[in-house]
Structures are given as C-alpha cells and as structure tokens.
Amino acid sequence: MPETLVALYIFVLACFIGFYVIWGVTPSLHTPLVALTNAISGIVIVGALLVTGLEEVGGLAEIFGFFAVLLASINVFGGFLVTNRMLSMFKKKDRK
C-alpha cells in the first residue's frame, strides 16, 4: 500500500476517534475544549521543526521555518496555559 494511502487510512480512523471523544465533552467545558484543541493543533510545531532543522536548509526556508516555529510555539504555550488557567477556576461547591 502506498504511503499516501496509509496516511489516508490513519486520517479517516482518527476522524472517528475525534467524533466519539468530542461528543463526550461536557458543554460546560466547551471553551476550554476550544482552547485545548488550539494548543494541540500547535502540533504543527513538529512540521516547523522538521523544516527549520534540516541540515542543508536554505536561507529562505530557514526564515519561513523560524516564523512557523515561533507562531506554533505561541500556540502551544498560550493554549495550554490559558486552558489550565480556565480549568483551575472550575470548582465544586465548598461553602459552609
């Protein structure tokens, strides 16, 4: 099976995982869900690292790669930290 087809298999099966996992998320946490998926989609940082870190990378590609690393890294740090900040606010009743 050619690699692209394998990738397609993985993609479609992952869609099903996404479908079932996301329907389980409680509506009260939909904002943290958006923030967390945002952080997770910062996974493009892996692609950015691969472009930038190539040994024989050209000057132009290196610059594109640098900005990609920068933006994805903002996403990763900003996304996870803000999710954490929000989730720490969700408390159960503890008065009295």
Binding site: A7, F11, I17, N38, I43, L54, A61, F77, K91
Partner: protein, 466 residues
Amino acid sequence: MELSANGQAIAYLISAILFIFALKGLTHPASARNGNYFGMAGMAIAVVATLMGTEVQSYGFIIAGVAAGAVIGSIMAARVEMTAMPQLVAALHSFVGMAAVLVAIGTFLNKQAANELNAVLMGELSAGIIIGAITFSGSVIAFGKLQGLISGAPVIFKGQHAVNALLALVTIGFGVHFAMTGSINSLVIMTVLAFILGFTLIIPIGGADMPVIISMLNSYSGWAAAATGFTLQNNLLIIVGAIVGFSGAILSYIMCKAMNRSIINVVFGGFGSESAGESSAAAQAVQKGVKSASIEDAIYWMEDANKVIIIPGYGMAVAQAQHALKEFMELLEDRGVEVKFAIHPVAGRMPGHMNVLLAEADIAYDHVLEMDEINPEFPTADVALVVGANDVTNPAARTDSSSPIYGMPILDVDKARNIYVIKRSMNPGYSGVDNLLYYEDNCSLIFGDAKDVCEGLVTALKGGGH
C-alpha cells in the same frame, strides 16, 4: 543522542494517545485539569522526539523561535481577560493557519533544493497552503469583529456567493496547476488568492454568529494541521489534525442546532445587524405595554423565595456583572433560597463562554445548568432573573411560526412564577426580533446597567434584612 525513526514513531504514538486522553479529560470538570496535563506531556514528547530524530540537525533558529514563542504565549495566556477569550482563541487560530502555510512553503523550498518534488506532494502542499491561508485570514477577520476593530455587522453585497465560488475555483485551479507543473508563479498566486478567500468567506457572517465562526475556524485549524501531516508524511500531525478538525466541526453543529439554523444558513446568511441607538427606554416600554419594576420590587419576591433561576447572557459579561451576581447568590443562599444558573448553548461569544465567566466569579459549576437540565425546573421557580440575555428567552421561538427565530430551542423562562429582566433599553437582541417575554403578565423589566442593578440588588438585600 539520536532517536531512530522507529523510536520516533513510537514516541509519536504515545503522544497521540496522550492527546486523546487530554480531550477525554474534558468529560467532567473534575478530571479536566489532569487532562490538560496529559496534553502538555503529549506535546513535550512530540517535540523532544522530533528534535532527537535524525532529520533535525541545526538548532539555532529553533531555540530562538521556541523561546520567543514561549514568552509571548505565556504572557498572552496570563494576561487575557476571560471576556476576551474569544479574541485570544481567534488569534491563536490565525497562528496555526499561518504556521501551516509557512511550513508548507518551507517544505516546498527544501524539497525543491533536494530535487524530491512530485505531483502528489505538491498537491498536498497546495491543500495545506489553501486551508492554512483561509484559516489565517478568516481568523484575523473574526478577531477584528470580536475586538470591535471592524463592524460586527454582516458585510453583504450582491453576487457575493458567486464571487466566493469563483474565487475558490480559481484558487483550486492554480493549486492544481502548481501540482502538475511546479510553477512558482502558480504557487504564489494560489497562496494570495487563498488569503483573500478566507477574508471574503468570514466577512459576511454577523457578530451574532460568533460562536459558530469560532468553532468553524477551530475546525479549519485542525484540517490545516492534518494537511501538513500529509505533506510531511507525519502520522502524528494527521491524527491530531483530524481530531481537532472534528472537534470544531461538532461544536459548529451543536451551535447551529442551538439556533435552529443550518450551517449553510450561517455561513451564507449574514444574520443579525447592529441595533440602532437607545431612545428613552422607559418611555418606549410604556408605549409597548411593558411593565417596569424597581430593585425593591424584585427583592420583595426573591428574598423569601424557594428557588431563583438566574439566566445570564452576554450583557452580563459586557457589564462585568458576574461578581455582583455571585455575591447576590450567596446572600440569597444564606436566606435559604435555592439559586441556579441557566445557560443556553449560544450564550456568550463562543461555545461555553458563559460557564467560564461564572467560574471566574467563583460560582461553583454544580450551580450552573445547561438548557436541557434546567428547563424542567422553571415551572417550580419563584423567580427567573434574566441578566443580559434576550433571544434565548423569547417564547416566540415556540409560538410564532412567522418569527425568524421560530424553532430555536429556548430557555423556558416564561414558565417561572415571576420574571425580572435586567435590561439597558428596549432594543431587541441580535436577531432584531421583539421579545414576547416582556409582554407576559408575570414579567417586569428593571432598566439599567447589569452591574449597577446587580449591585443594587446586593445592597437592598443586605440593608433590608428582616
């Protein structure tokens, strides 16, 4: 130390599993924080495994980029106001989109230098660039609308859909041409057109539909990551992209369902326009046969009630009334009144926004109920207090088949014994529809800023203890 390709693949697999557990954690607020830590661990493993792999050999730019991103991201996350969360999310979506575009172009340049280009790869690159660019410029527009930099009103012109369809076709056409020939001109034109397309796709959508736009762009950012995964033949990116893409798609579906509108209608609709100025609220109210009440009237019914349900809307967030509401809730509880909050799925500017704002004010999440949970309780409520919510309480959605919001699921506020609505003026909500709730016999309006009125309620309750 270098990690073999197989070692790296295993690390990516572990990372993907951790991400799934991270999302699974959001099933309940009690497990959510741990879920987020799973997510962080997954990301750390993915990044370290990539850096230790054989492909990454030069580190200077990488360290600089990650360090700068860490500082900027941490500051943004620490400083953002909870009311501004939709803007932050829109900004972050735009970054993912732009990063995907940059990675695709960088990959093209690297592969071109190594003479490893082929039609399939270039086709995948085109897809990555188009999706990423649309995500970027669409998110920038969403950010501008949320931040008030550009009007939230839908921008509509004649033949808009035809123009968009044509633009999309031409963009794809250049993408195909690039994939077939490797022409750099086509690549550049395609990229520019895709940026324009993101702009023209989002600009016609009105501010009232922000929860849908945010969810949609969330979805796009996932598809952009997945497309990047295809170009790099990186399974982790494909898995994560697909899950995030579906997450946003499901949220869009839930939001549309809560407004009883199809996604097509939202995307092409241009629903809701900014309402005009506020002429003397009380005078309009009298004219329309609406009762206005004082804070004391409302307190009279609430102080000895059994159950009070509070319905917060975006008006509460704008006025920053949530802290006063929390104090009011505690005072009522001290008097033995049961207090609950009722949340409509599209309350606020993004999915779940109201829950975060209430959580920020230290209101325990077991007091906050979703529409389906709370609706059976309205008939047993002595008082329903509406704070800055409008369309989601309009009984016209149930009764008036000619109303634009007919069929939309609403909070059954009208079934409570007494209803008090805190409102600044008689202006209709985003839908532009008059709220029939206000004309009910058991409904009175308290005119004023949500925060001022809530603070007034607190003072009155403290002072009038008997």
